[in-house]
């Protein structure tokens, strides 16, 4: 068990025992008695939170930071901090001006929040032992919605050239983010995370999201690391489309039917992960977590499956 098992499962291979990846975000701060906003801005605390969570939950793999505002904030975009949640982007610089008019640049490893994330990642990597460290890059569609606001969804229908221009830029940011996690930090797996990916139509996903994921996925592969896509929400309508991105593994939300995602992943030779009921079971206790885990494990099987929250 451990790191290799997660890599094997994410790459669609058989594992004798199903690996376990808890998605610990600011909850890691709770475990060490520190608020999320402080943890995410301090490399020592972030590394400590990740290491503590990995040990506490006997994880085979663990994300470095579940924070999709890193990229936007590193471009100077305003966000709001919380003690018990990751920061939320509250400014949409491309709402009133074009990309050319804005002074937005792809943030590199020395910009914005990256130095803290990189330092924390290197510290965690040194001490984490046989646990896969997973980098989470903000997906291009999510980043485009940070930049343009909800207008991006209308643009995709009414001004496809504009949407494409913004998505192209977002793809470059995601690419650099993936490169930083894979190359500079040395994460074993890097996932492109798209919380809003499930809220577009399959044709929109094919036209805008799949091409925009390619530079990031290539950057991860170039570093010799494993690729993945994480998606939130009810992604049933685009599960098959997600398989065409080329990512090795697709991890889904608690709303998806695990039998369906399993069959789809096996059909395309992908790994898949999920979908312990994060809200209903772990957060609210309305469903018995043990029974829920057994259902997920039974549906997932041992070929390419990673047990994770959904």
């Amino acid at each position: 068990m451990g790191k290799q098992a997660v890599i094997d499962a994410y790459e669609g291979r058989y594992t004798p025992v199903v690996p376990w990846v808890p998605y610990v975000g600011v909850h890691g701060g709770y475990l060490i008695g520190e608020p999320g906003d402080k943890v995410l801005q301090d490399s020592d605390l972030l590394a400590k939170a990740v290491l503590t969570a990995a040990e506490r939950y006997k994880a085979d793999g663990i994300p470095l930071a579940f924070d999709l505002a890193v990229e936007a904030m590193s471009m100077g975009i305003e966000a709001k901090w919380f003690e018990d949640n990751p920061p939320t982007v509250i400014e949409h610089p491309l709402d009133g001006k074009s990309l050319a008019e804005s002074d937005l640049q792809v943030p590199g490893p020395n910009d914005g929040r990256w130095p803290v994330i990189i330092e924390a990642g290197k510290k965690a990597k040194e001490q984490i032992g046989d646990v896969a460290l997973i980098g989470l890059a903000c997906g291009p569609l999510t980043l485009a919605s940070h930049l343009r606001g909800s207008k991006i969804f209308t643009d995709m229908v009414k001004k496809p050239e504009l949407a494409e221009e913004i998505m192209d830029f977002a793809a470059k940011v995601t690419e650099e983010s993936c490169r930083i996690y894979a190359e500079e930090i040395g994460c074993d797996i890097v996932a492109i995370v798209e919380p809003v990916g499930s809220q577009v139509r399959p044709a929109t996903y094919d036209k805008f999201v799949i091409p925009a994921c390619q530079p990031g996925l290539k950057a991860i592969e170039k570093a010799g690391k494993t690729t993945a896509l994480y998606i939130c929400g009810d992604a049933t309508k685009i599960v098959e489309n997600m398989m065409y991105t080329g990512a090795s593994c697709v991890c889904v939300d608690e709303q998806l039917n695990m039998n369906y995602i399993r069959d789809c992943a096996l059909k395309y030779g992908r790994g898949f992960g999920g979908n312990l009921k994060l809200t209903l079971s772990l957060s609210l206790g309305l469903v018995d977590p043990r029974e829920d885990a057994i259902v997920s494990l039974a549906a997932g099987g041992k070929l390419g499956y990673t047990f994770s929250p959904g």
Binding site: K151, G233, D234, T279, S283, L284
Partner: protein, 90 residues
């Protein structure tokens, strides 16, 4: 998804009240069950499930709001607001 409502102009929000519920608390779960929600997020208009895990374009949103208008005056206000938003968008 709720962001699309936050961009509606004042003349529309004068007669449209919107509220966001979180599935992470008892009130939100109660509302989800009461409305017979199927997926998250879902946007309801006049208590009907209208956009289920789909972020509407502005046109789709205005069309749905017009469908749910209570009277002719509201419908006309929505049409004007949509035309104005289209002009501004262009």
């Amino acid at each position: 998804m709720v962001d699309v409502l936050k961009t509606l102009p004042d003349e529309v929000t004068d007669f449209i009240e919107y509220k966001e519920w979180s599935i992470k608390n008892e009130e939100g779960i109660g509302k989800f069950v009461e409305r017979q929600g199927r997926v998250l997020p879902t946007l309801c208009i006049n208590e009907e499930l209208v956009f289920e895990s789909i972020i509407p374009t502005s046109e789709e949103l205005y069309d749905a709001l017009k469908e749910g208008a209570r009277n002719e005056e509201q419908r006309k206000t929505l049409e004007k607001a949509f035309e104005k938003s289209e002009e501004e968008y262009e």
